[in-house]
Amino acid sequence: MGVSIMHDLILEIVNRLLLPFIQLFGMYILIHGHLSPGGGFSGGAVIGASLILYSLTFRFAKVKHRMDHDTSVFFEAAGALIYVAVGFVGLLFGFNFLTNRGVFPLGVPGQLWSGGMILVITLALGAKVSGTILSLFQELLEGGSDEHGTP
């Protein structure tokens, strides 16, 4: 893509200030998914949005900061594979696929460490969704141009 955008000082400074808070908020939504509205998809979307913001502001300045293609596929697949692996844990203990009660410690409802596999899956989904959103955005942005080579 031949488009070049100038360094915009305001954008960069504001982004630097804002990004940590956006990501922190995303993490909060993610980790408290079983206690308050939120969860893997919404938290992942917020974190993914922050990454998009980052790549929009700094992309043209530092191209090397874009997530490289294999990395994003790795995040994708890892999230999904953790999910499946959690399902198989239930199978190993002699329960059905994706069993929670009886396999994982459920904890005290209402505390942060509760919910058994729900917390694990939420984190896996969060990683997956944020990776997905970013890689979809970047792929559509580059629109199939050959910039970074074929995977």
Partner: protein, 93 residues
């Protein structure tokens, strides 16, 4: 003809849907059929069954976790599809 047909189709669908809306259980009715099915157990037992007090999280990640596995797969398929079509076609070979 090309202009009239969509209007006719839309009118038919619209009228059918409006009549259906008129027949539906009243909005917000606590005893509507939709609330007489599976809801009660979810609200009563989810904290004990799953350890999560957010009932929606309990439903999507425990009671119906298989659905969410499918949902994660849909996302995965979307990314694979986008990658494979944008970078895999013959158009830049």
């Amino acid at each position: 003809m090309k202009k009239v047909l969509p209007v006719l189709v839309l009118a038919a669908i619209g009228i059918l849907l409006i009549l259906t809306v008129a027949e539906m259980p009243a909005f917000g009715d606590s005893n509507a059929p939709a609330h007489r099915g599976v809801m009660e157990k979810y609200l009563r037992d989810s904290a004990i069954d799953t350890g999560a007090i957010n009932t929606i999280a309990a439903i999507i990640l425990d009671y119906r976790a298989y659905d969410t596995l499918g949902e994660a797969t849909v996302l995965f398929v979307a990314v694979l599809a986008v990658t494979a079509t944008l970078y895999g076609g013959e158009h830049h070979a």
